[in-house]
Subunit: 548 residues, 2 copies
């Protein structure tokens, strides 16, 4: 298999929209020590250890942890000089290990027994040698951090080192200023001040998460991957339309996907690379490819830019041709066995990283939801005939207006459990957030009551499979709002995203289960991103519900 043929015009448009990055110098606020804390969700607490300028001479084995507050993506620099024991000057290089911490766990725990299946090279540590002192050290690689730990591996018996002026050069393509803080003037007046402050903090953390993922593309996270994925893009862009009002970065990202398909037929990649030069991502995810239509519709509606909509309509519409064949004769959506993404063009179906999740019901609903979007887009853009597709191994191409009711009927037939009043998936009739959230978002339930009952059942039943990532938690909340269950959406935002704040998050995490705070899709907490695009959505959801 080889990369799909690039569309040079699309890539050129994308490149012409590459934003200028903004930088801001930020100073370390204080020095901290990290101590075990059984009361903390993540197991650690930071204890104030004095002022940055009071850090004295460090010798081999010593360390210092700077707390910059908040979180940023950026480079790090500092001054280092020798503190002599006697009259001999520094007579050997100084070797330092730097660890960049998004959360305390990064600077409190050793990476030595790292066991994730994603590359160890993503670990946020570096070893450097400073040959001559004094020196100004600028670390050229961008890191994502609130904390910087500097461990002195060795100086010499003749000298220690004094480190001063630790500086972060924060970088983003988003504005530095947040939108106005939530006043609750038009909605939520009745809330207690404590409740309002809690939501304001969640909103602040969400906006910081979004900002720190906005660079020359919408990155999934500035710590690991640093890459553009359709699923993340959709939520980031929506959130940005509601807050930072950025449209060009979304446009650039849409063109990057369209310009670098997975194959010559135009199947979209799940992710694309922009460095060292734009390159296709080499894998695809069924739900992400179909959600491209939704992402394009969101963009056109938010920006009013119909030209881009028309330019990219064909490739968005094309995606369904790759997944419609997954339907059986009786219109069950067959999720193919997960294979090697490099061999099978459509085997990866995501929904969430939760390994227990049965995905058939959710994927069927995502198909419906996305078909509706491409139909709406066709109508909005007046691009001519309604798109039509062949389902399964059939030979009849049917327009969306015919297909959707059939698929909804089939969905209700196959996945709705009348007895339990909930959508189920797979041979074991698994109840899950994923199945029910997407069913509701897709408009499958025959009434609001059914939708509410299904969501409530999925939300409360103990056997229900929940979500490992904020990506699915977002769609759960979205579904609550769609079903008129705003109180549950608000409750869930407070509890779920609020628990990340309680855990010390100044940005929201890639994966999070409050009861299993060390859970990771990759097998090791230290491979998780703690500032991740798809978790920024409280800033969107709150505004969607009318909080301003």
């Amino acid at each position: 298999m080889i990369p799909g043929k690039q569309n040079a015009r699309f890539v050129e448009i994308a490149e012409s929209l590459k934003p200028q990055l903004k930088t801001r110098v930020e100073h370390a606020l204080r020095v901290v020590k990290v101590e075990r804390d059984e009361n903390s969700l993540m197991g650690w607490k930071a204890v104030d250890a004095g002022r940055v300028e009071d850090v004295g001479s460090l010798n081999g084995g010593d360390q210092v942890i700077y707390d910059f507050g908040g979180h940023r993506a950026g480079t790090f620099e500092f001054d280092i000089e020798s503190v002599l024991v006697g009259v001999e000057p520094a007579d050997a290089p100084c070797r330092l290990k730097l660890v960049f911490g998004e959360v305390l766990n990064d600077v409190a725990e050793s990476f030595d027994d790292y066991k994730a299946w994603v590359s160890k090279s993503w670990l946020p540590d570096e070893i450097i040698n400073v040959d001559y002192l004094p020196e100004h050290v600028h670390m050229p690689r961008r890191h994502a951090f609130r904390y910087v730990k500097i461990e002195v591996i060795s100086t010499s018996p003749r000298y220690g080192v004094k480190i001063s002026n630790p500086i972060a050069n924060a970088v983003t393509s988003a504005p530095w200023e947040d939108p106005a803080i939530l006043s609750f003037a038009s909605k939520g007046k009745e809330m207690s001040e404590e409740e309002k402050d809690g939501l304001r903090k969640i909103d602040e953390v969400a906006l910081r998460t979004l900002r720190n993922c906005m660079h020359t593309v919408y990155e999934d996270g500035p710590r690991r991957d640093m890459r553009l994925w359709i699923g993340d893009l959709r939520l980031q862009a929506l959130c940005s339309y509601a807050t930072f009002k950025d449209y060009d970065l979304a446009k650039r990202c849409l063109y990057l996907f369209a310009g670098m398909p997975f194959n010559d037929e135009g199947l979209l990649c799940a992710c694309v690379y922009e460095k060292p030069k734009p390159y296709f991502g080499g894998n695809c995810i069924a739900d992400y490819a179909m959600l491209f239509a939704v992402t394009l519709l969101d963009y056109v509606k938010a920006s009013g830019d119909k030209q881009t909509g028309k330019d990219l309509f064909e490739i968005a519409a094309k995606q369904f041709t790759f997944f419609a064949p997954n339907y059986s004769e009786d219109l069950r959506y067959n999720v193919p066995p997960a294979g090697d993404a490099s061999e099978s063009s459509s085997s990866w179906h995501f929904v969430d990283w939760e390994p227990k999740l049965e995905k058939e019901c959710a994927e069927h609903a995502i198909m419906i939801y996305c078909l509706k979007a491409i139909a709406e887009l066709a109508s909005l853009l007046q691009v001519g005939e309604e798109p039509s597709y062949v389902l399964g191994t059939g030979s009849e191409s049917q327009p969306i207006s015919t297909l959707v009711p059939k698929l909804i009927e089939a969905h209700n037939k196959h996945y709705y459990d009348h007895e339990l009043g909930v959508y189920v998936s797979g041979p074991e009739k698994q109840i899950s957030w994923g199945s029910n959230a997407w069913a509701v978002i897709a408009g499958v339930p025959e009434s609001k009551d059914i939708a509410q009952r299904a969501l409530k059942a999925a939300y409360t039943r103990p056997e229900s499979v929940q979500g490992l990532t904020p990506y699915l938690h977002h769609y759960l909340c979205d579904a609550f709002i769609v079903a008129g269950l705003e109180d549950l959406a608000l409750k869930h935002i407070k509890e779920y995203w609020g628990s990340m704040v309680q855990a010390g998050g100044e940005t929201f995490f890639e994966a999070w289960m409050p009861k299993e705070p060390r859970a990771s899709p990759y097998g090791d907490l230290h491979s998780n991103s703690f500032c991740h695009a798809w978790s920024c959505t409280p800033a969107l959801l709150l505004r969607q519900m009318g909080f301003e």
Copy 2:
């Protein structure tokens, strides 16, 4: 204690003589594997592992060892690209560990249990991260190496790396061309071709050692310290006068020492620093300070530059005032107990790193040798009155022409063992190379027969304390030549320096005892330099004996 006052004029002259460095691009010759070899002195052998351009894709845990042949000080660069497993591009940074090997032990053995008292920061390994592939990587720090090992710490499951074009940018201030190889036309005609080739190889390795220590100062070694020491300077400069014919670098180094004394009285430092800016070394060694006079005399005689001799005469002559007080009333030289060099200005007496060595006899001889040199310099430069000094706690200042015979008499009285026919030192009457070599060099023995007998006894008696470093081995050979024992000098060069060649040395080592190949003055083999200034002298000794 604070640094001695700088002599700005001296430092300025030194800086005006800073040489332009020459660089040369050198290519790796082959790839090797390292295997255990019980027959090898250092325990390892290199096995050919193919051509540089044939190295395939490397994954996490893989390694490659490039053999550049010979040895150089320089930087290293290479190209690195990804080798994809499927269609996904390199989806994570690549983390590499590079180890620069002067000898096979550097690339064959782990540094993990390093236990030397000199800084771990000197270890020749670095860890780097390459974020985007392909990349041209230039390692900016200068290393000393024949071998470069690249260990791939991690790539990702998606890709391996192909490394190509490994290049060394060798650097020196010496000429790239060696002097004409030894023809043995005027002396040594009778030698077998094998013997001649053996000496030619030793000469070649000696010249490479000298070249790779010549930068903007005469460094003691390009791997560790990288610093200017008087003891090394004297031998390097002598060797260079006889081969590369460089005088300006020696002049620069003499001015650096004179410009940055240890104290305001003008006591010289044992070493000085030139980076990041010229700075005093913070310690002093009695024998080194006194040998400055010899080094200056050597320079004036070799270069004919009497102006520099006159300019620096006073500070050279001054040194004896700091050590003459070490004499007891009956003219025994008392070596003060070794203290902290930063507290005591004259406590460090070196002679050699051999810890068992009793130094009194040797230091007394060095005093005589250096007094003779300053007297010769005074006469050569016609600087007026003969210098005079007060010995011990006496009050009488005596000119050198009076002092030297008295000191020689005292030396023979205190240290010559008539019965054994050898010079001895300390309460245990220790026999050593150090005592006897320096006694002979200083011209203490009353006859050539006594000198020869003493040297032969010291050289052959089993209880005799030998030398850990080539520095003392040099003076042993020098003494053999002075005493008319050229055959022994030649034998020793072949055996001692030849054994370093046998051990795989393409440069000569800082410390070497063929029977204890892992001996180190610092407690760990990996802290030794394997290209060290003071071991370059076979190139001098052979020419001194008339081999050309």
